[in-house]
Amino acid sequence: MSTVLDLSPFVSDEVRKTTCYMCACRCGIDVHLRDGRIRYIQGNRDHPVNRGVLCAKGSAGMLHLESPARLQAPLMRTGPRGTGEFKEVSWDEALSTACSWLGEIRARDPRKLAFFTGRDQSQSLTAWWAQQFGTPNYASHGGFCSVNMATAGIYTIGGSFWEFAQPDWENSKLLLLFGVAEDHDSNPIKLGLSAMRRRGARIVSVNPVRTGYSAIADAWFGITPGTDGLLVLALIRELLRSGRIDADFLRHNCNAAWLVDVEDGETGGLFVRDEQGTPLVLDSRTGRPERHDMPGIIPLLSGSAEFAGGARAVTVFTLLAEKYLDDRYSPETVARKTGIGASKIRGLAAELARVAFDDAQELPLPWTDAYGNHHQTTVVRPVAIHAMRGISAHTNGFQTCRAIHLLQMLLGAIDCPGGTRFKPPYPKPAEFHPRPSGWAGPNTPLAGPPLGYPLGPQDLLVDSRGQPQRLDKAFSWEAPLAAHGMLHAAIPNAAAGDPYPVDVMFLYMANMAWNSSMNTPAAIGALTAKGENGDYRIPRLIVADAFNSEMTSYADLVLPDTTYLERFDCISLLDRPIGEPDLVADAIRHPVVALNRNVRPFQDVLIDLGARLGLPGFVDSNQRPKWRDYAHYMATRETRPGTGPLAGWRGRNGEKAGRGEPNPKQLDQYIKAGGYWSQEVPRQARFFKNLNIAYQEWSTDLGLQPKPTPFKLQIYSEPLRRFQLAAEGFGDRQPPEVLRQRIHKCFDPLPIWYEPASDSSGEFPLHAITQRPMAMYHSWGSHNPWLRQIHTDNHLYVPGSICDEMQLVDGCWVWVESPVARIKVRVKRMEAVNRQTVWSWNAVARRPGAWGLSHSSPESRKAFLLNHVISHLLPKQPDGCRWSNSDPVTGQAAWFDLRVSITPADDSEQCTYPQFEPQGQPPNQDPGSEELCYGGEWCK
């Protein structure tokens, strides 16, 4: 060669280890820096989440620092909302303006602030800020993401898929995947799936579309959307019919043997308890009722008891057997609705039973339960299940997820080796979470956090007439268990003044004017709606974001955030912890590159605002700011004496873990250790954590819980039954008449399946769903030049049989119509999809001018959002009421209930419909280059 090839070129001046934020996974990254810029990002080999690997998004993270969409300075709106006309203002002016709006509200009626924080990873700070401000109108994005999974999990097993539990990737021999979203836990799932395939373990995917993980599954069940619960109940029936269930697990780990009062009356359907309130079971030796937690007891699974006065009670298992052995759940009956043949369902049931019981083992690992019973061995049930968005985003998602957990309990496959395992600090059942706190008065903090887990109607946030206390109607009779709030309802409700108008809406990192709202045109309409006096119906709108998103253009005041590479952040055990079944862990982000524009980390701004407003906790006794910034808060805030946002290196010199006084050098120690802290769960504490005394004591010592809280998994949910009782007319808090029947049906204390609430008339015969591309996360990928080359536009994938019937060919245009609107899109044929389902990739489309892209980009001319045709309301009820298009239990947005029709469209325009007016650029935005040669300065 004429040039001498340098085989050891210089790589980087320095490697800084921090946490990724290109999606929700929170992988560890090694950021290679050269001349103060990022040369390269790779996965951190030591990090418990990703163990060295890194996805497409994380690998492209440095281009966020080049993005022309990066906001440059605080902005005040100068033109009409949505035009994107702004002037730059100083931070002092921006924060004084915000304080003048917020301070007045707080003194008058703090509810008039609605504070919603999108894909926030600092919820323990933002929720506390809302609490101290005194507004109950706070939530993050869980209500439109996966609250059904979280809530069903917490009420049923005290944990949930993804963040609080995961498959035992090393020991499971069969994995059942339901409706997984490929941006949640993506690198760990990819690592786990490939490890399973290499071991010869089998993967079965239940998903209407065979992309991504489903593509490498051994078997694919192309289910009809919204019918997963029916499939699961059919599997349960087959297991019961054949007696292939783990009776020991049901007796000792679950509430299957608890006695339920079956008399009509105000205690009907509740557990029979002793005087101390402990639920009773039937002792198999005596046949007599005893406390379920009596040491040594072997309770009967079946049976009934009569109590004084002739009151009769039966075991949960008796109710369960009667319910699920019914022919309505036979494989033949459910085959048509689910789109899965009866023999396939039987085959899967048989395989689940074979692996759970015939491949079971006993490990020589002794453990002791919280009731003093010693177990010589640990039973391995190598069947794991993982489920996510496809289950969650339906109006029957909560009960479907509960059905999945019931299936796991019947197989004895929860927190055992080989099963689905809890990740500390979980499990933690609903009882040990707080209740939601309502409004307390002017200038007054809420009594507790705004979000929580109600245990019955007494915990709802409703007024004396039963009307919602919160703007989004979370924790009202419309969505009693809305544990993550309902961000998707906040904007429409605020514009409608239903249940009341607000004065300021404050949004962080939530693209509600585009891909995070159902019925986007309606959301835009709500943001721009004016009252009779000519003022906007939502009078003040503050938006904090790092980029010029669609949402930003509607703001009155923009508080520009940094990217994840330029600030401190805290991935806290108090929030959405990282970690593994055998490892408790938390992590930080820290600035790896210098900030080069007039923007500030949002959490710093929030702490500053808290101090300026004099919020209790944000100022000291002299009314001076208590924290300099978020980093200072992370290291020194104590939620209880000795515990705080970070568990690692506590104590004056960093010598303590979990509990210990604040350590001023804590963050330095995190940075030195690679940006994260972890500690192994002791061997004898690793399994059956809900009952395992070694786990209970270890987690208490570490400060993960204030005291040991052993509990049994809740097949039969008493909190649900309490809502049903109210619907039956008992108690002083009862649902309004229009909701009585719905509450009674949906709050069944045993898992059920019911039809999704969407319009299933013949007019809209097809299901329509989206899948998340692995290389794109919500809006955040679209302005990244490398990621947008992978997903520049999107097509509607249509089953081949429908293409043949309608003579559709690849690239032709069709109208997709729903009861609320229609869109025009291009078609691609596909066979590996459920025959009644059309689908596309999520969140590729952009409003012209948003995210620094050209006005005629493929994202705005060729791509489309399915959001435009998803109604945010359900069809009108007989009395004229319209409820949110959400799960009636949890308020989870029902994105995937959508039904549509398709018809051929004319192709003369060659662009999607609807098209939107371009939004303007704020002053001094980087125009974006015509050509990018990233890293060119280092090339030889």
């Binding site: 050269r34 992309t211 078997a219 990233y934």
Partner: protein
């Protein structure tokens, strides 16, 4: 016309496991990121924020739907230079820019000699070469020649970026001339395949094919069938549960 070495001492290459590739594009982007600041000119992107964004990439993943009578499946197929023993892209090069290294078999473009004529891209049957829109020189996979021997990197990281980052461990790097290497063992045990052998390019890279999957309409995970209880009614199940307990 540029000559190929008669023999290379080693045959460094990739073994790509299609059985576990989920099409996530991690290898594609991580490769782009490493190589944009690495060997040769940067991998440019034309109109990065415009109407027709298009850049040079050394590795791409394509997805194909494989449809048979009673099943439909998706196969994800990563594709980059296969570092062929009989590389037509080398022999066609009029300037000597396209070369195959005799020491390890890596096919490289010496950009100082490349005039951007594009003949090599025409000659490559795999479409594995892309013209850089800015520098006007031909870009291709270097097997991260600036990583695999790089003493500025920890030894454990001296592997191609795509291999280092792959979340499903679908990509393996090693010496395919060494019969005892990890990659040779994979090829032997999983019947590693040449891509388009009829082209007679003798590619070094090998592909491991997807293992048998059940057809979409067939669920025969096991021959096992659940036997009904003698009386599979609620009362039968409840009676059975009690009697099973009494036997303990």
């Amino acid at each position: 016309m540029t000559s190929l070495p008669d023999k290379t001492a080693r045959k460094l290459g990739l073994v790509i496991d299609l059985d576990v590739c989920v099409g996530c594009q991690a290898c594609v982007v991580n490769c782009k990121a490493w190589n944009s600041g690495g060997y040769g000119s940067s991998l440019a992107d034309h109109e990065p924020y415009g109407d027709a964004p298009e850049g040079a990439w050394l590795n791409r993943v394509h997805g194909y739907e494989v449809v048979s009578k009673d099943s439909a499946a998706i196969v994800h197929f990563p594709k980059s230079c296969l570092h062929c023993d009989d590389a037509p892209c080398v022999t066609v090069c009029p300037t000597g820019a396209s070369i195959k290294r005799s020491e390890d078999g890596i096919v490289l473009v010496d950009e100082s000699k490349c005039m951007g004529c594009g003949l090599c891209a025409w000659a490559c049957p795999y479409g594995a070469r892309e013209m850089d829109p800015s520098a006007g020189v031909m870009k291709k996979c270097t097997l991260c020649v600036d990583r695999i021997y790089n003493e500025n990197l920890p030894e454990v990281d001296r592997e191609p970026a795509c291999v280092r980052t792959c979340p499903t461990n679908a990509r393996h790097f090693g010496d395919l001339a060494d019969p005892d290497s990890h990659v040779s063992n994979l090829v032997a045990s999983r019947c590693g395949q040449d891509l388009m052998p009829e082209q007679e390019t003798r590619p070094v890279n090998k592909y491991l094919l997807p293992q048998d999957r059940d057809g979409a309409e067939q669920m025969s995970l096991s021959g096992f069938v659940l036997a009904d209880l003698a009386d599979p009614s609620p009362s039968g199940l409840l009676g059975w549960i009690d009697s099973a307990l009494s036997k303990l």
